[in-house]
């Protein structure tokens, strides 16, 4: 039994790493920013962490903190042009940003190791660290979303005019969401670097962007549990059906098309919504019959 579980440990690690990235993507979407920058910001964090440890000999915890900071600061810079854009234009701008980070990682070979990547990163992050990071991340998301920040994010996403008319500063809140998302991406980028010995520029490119976006869209964009469900399904599926693993991106694409058509709010959101509707209509039915029974007695 233990052996079977141990066999799945690498998959569990991967799940926790990708879950962090999924939350980074989830948070900006929840605040109504159509940014896809998570992957690029993760690359910034990963290389910041990797270079600090390998080239400059910093201890891993310090490098991790620096990576979070780097992700947040780059996001802050990126939020300036992004605040002037909306919707699909934000998506295009952030994809361009990913492309820039990717090119820099390839061409600044002296710093980043170029196309060969950064090698010989000491492995300092294991399952326990990732699990702690995962729990902290879920708590952070929960705390944010149940505070005034979460309420403001929800209002902005649904209707900017309403949010503004109620005193919510759109620029301030979207910038904050984007910076937190960037710091989160930076942190998980560095965790990935310290977990896997080596970094290659290509791992933070288009396929990863699609994967992260799929986790959120498939799982659900408006519930905390959404990214957990989405990441779990999309990572476990290719493992259960081994032949599918070869065609991972194909499966992701097909699943996305199906989900967008039949469960447009994502699996978790749709199920939670349905359960709520059932509970409410049951309550309504009860309150409707209550006066009748009272009248009869």
């Amino acid at each position: 039994m233990t052996n079977v579980l141990l066999g799945y440990q690498p998959l569990f690690d991967l799940f926790l790493l990708h879950l962090g990235m999924a939350y980074s993507q989830w948070l900006v979407l929840r605040a109504g920013v159509f940014s896809l920058a998570t992957v690029g910001l993760a690359a910034v964090g990963a290389y910041t962490g990797g270079i600090l440890v390998v080239t400059l000999g910093f201890p891993a915890p310090v490098a991790l903190l620096a990576a979070a900071l780097a992700g947040g600061i780059v996001a802050l810079g990126l939020s300036v042009p992004l605040a002037r854009l909306r919707g699909v234009y934000q998506a295009i701008a952030t994809v361009a940003f990913i492309q820039i980070v990717l090119s820099l990682n390839i061409y600044a070979a002296g710093l980043t190791g170029g196309p060969q990547g950064l090698n010989g990163i000491p492995k300092t992050v294991g399952t326990l660290t990732l699990l702690i990071a995962g729990i902290l991340t879920v708590y952070l998301m929960y705390a944010i979303m149940s505070s005034r920040l979460g309420r403001a994010f929800d209002a902005i996403r649904q209707n900017e005019a309403v949010a503004a008319s109620l005193g919510v500063s759109i620029v301030r809140h979207q910038t904050l969401a984007f910076v937190i998302s960037g710091a989160l991406a930076g942190t998980y980028g560095a965790l990935e670097a310290f977990h896997s010995y080596a970094l290659a520029p290509s791992q933070f490119a288009f396929p990863f962007l699609i994967a992260v976006l799929s986790y959120v869209v498939l799982g659900g964009r408006n519930t905390i549990i959404g990214p957990i469900i989405g990441t779990a399904i999309l990572l476990i599926l290719p493992e259960i059906a081994r032949p599918l693993a070869e065609a991972r991106m194909l499966v992701y694409g097909l699943l996305l098309i199906l989900v967008i058509n039949y469960l447009p709010r994502g699996i978790a959101d749709t199920l939670i919504e349905r359960a709520r509707a059932r509970r409410l209509s049951a309550r309504l039915a009860k309150s409707d019959t209550a006066p009748t029974t009272a009248a009869r007695s």
Binding site: N159, A161, A164, S165, L176, R276
Partner: protein, 253 residues
């Protein structure tokens, strides 16, 4: 203290949507703004609340100039509004729609909110209580957990009003608040508006239902083609030939 528009104009290219409009909304009273469709009533509200840039003139709350302030700053200056075409947050529950209305008064630090510290949790709990009390006052407690998108038209209008009231404004701009309501519903809202004014709130009521406005307001402004054509007590203003012409048509006046 009052909300004052001083020679406010709005031009969209060559089209003049508001032409040197002067309006004063005192506190503790309901002021009417009427006019036929397309007279530019909503344009005025949008300019006051910072959703449209003002081309010319000045808007002040007390001695504070809000002419070029952002919408969120204007809310914090003490103005709230409802929308002519209802705008609720459809994904959120009825209660959550009211919670966001309290945003202006939430003051826990960003860090406390992010980390879910006790200060933030206390504040969330407090405004939740206040939102529940608001629902009770409007007789909608039973609907608290329902998705706001599924409410009936009348309930959605009331919800929007509760949300605006939650920000505890000094001035409330109501853009056709009783459109599509029956007499019983609109009478109960009329009662509410009187109550708000009696607590010292300044209310600007935008309507084209003349009967409703003349029942509630001591002072009305009449807008036509972006221009004020009359102002004064409803009884006098509504007999004004120009106002009758604007409403009924020139030849029949």
């Amino acid at each position: 203290m009052s909300l004052t528009l001083n020679n406010v104009s709005k031009r969209f290219g060559g089209v003049v949507a508001s032409d040197s409009v002067n309006i004063t909304v005192p506190k503790g009273k309901i002021t009417g703004l009427i006019g036929p469709n397309g007279a530019g009533k909503t344009t005025i509200v949008n300019m006051i609340t910072g959703m449209l840039a003002v081309s010319d003139g000045q808007i002040t709350v007390g001695d504070r100039d809000i002419t070029h302030s952002f919408a969120d700053e204007i809310c914090r200056a003490g103005l709230a509004r409802t929308f002519q075409n209802i705008r609720i947050l459809p994904d959120n529950s009825v209660l959550e729609n009211i919670l966001i209305g309290f945003h202006r008064h939430e003051e826990c630090s960003t860090l406390a909110a992010m980390l879910g510290l006790p200060a933030a949790r206390r504040e969330s709990g407090k405004i939740r209580e206040m939102a529940i009390a608001m629902l009770r006052r409007f007789g909608m407690s039973a609907l608290a957990d329902f998705p706001a998108g599924g409410l009936s038209y009348g309930h959605q209008r009331k919800l929007e009003m509760m949300r605006a009231l939650a920000s505890e404004p000094e001035f409330m701009l109501l853009d056709e608040p009783v459109a599509g309501m029956n007499d019983v519903e609109s009478d109960s809202l009329a009662e509410l508006f009187r109550e708000l004014a009696s607590t010292g709130m300044g209310v600007l009521l935008i309507e084209h239902n003349i009967r409703f406005v003349s029942k509630l307001c001591e002072h009305v402004y009449v807008l036509d083609g972006g221009r004020l054509i009359a102002e004064g007590a409803p009884g006098v203003v509504l007999r004004d030939p120009e106002v009758m012409a604007a409403y009924i048509g020139g030849e029949h006046a």
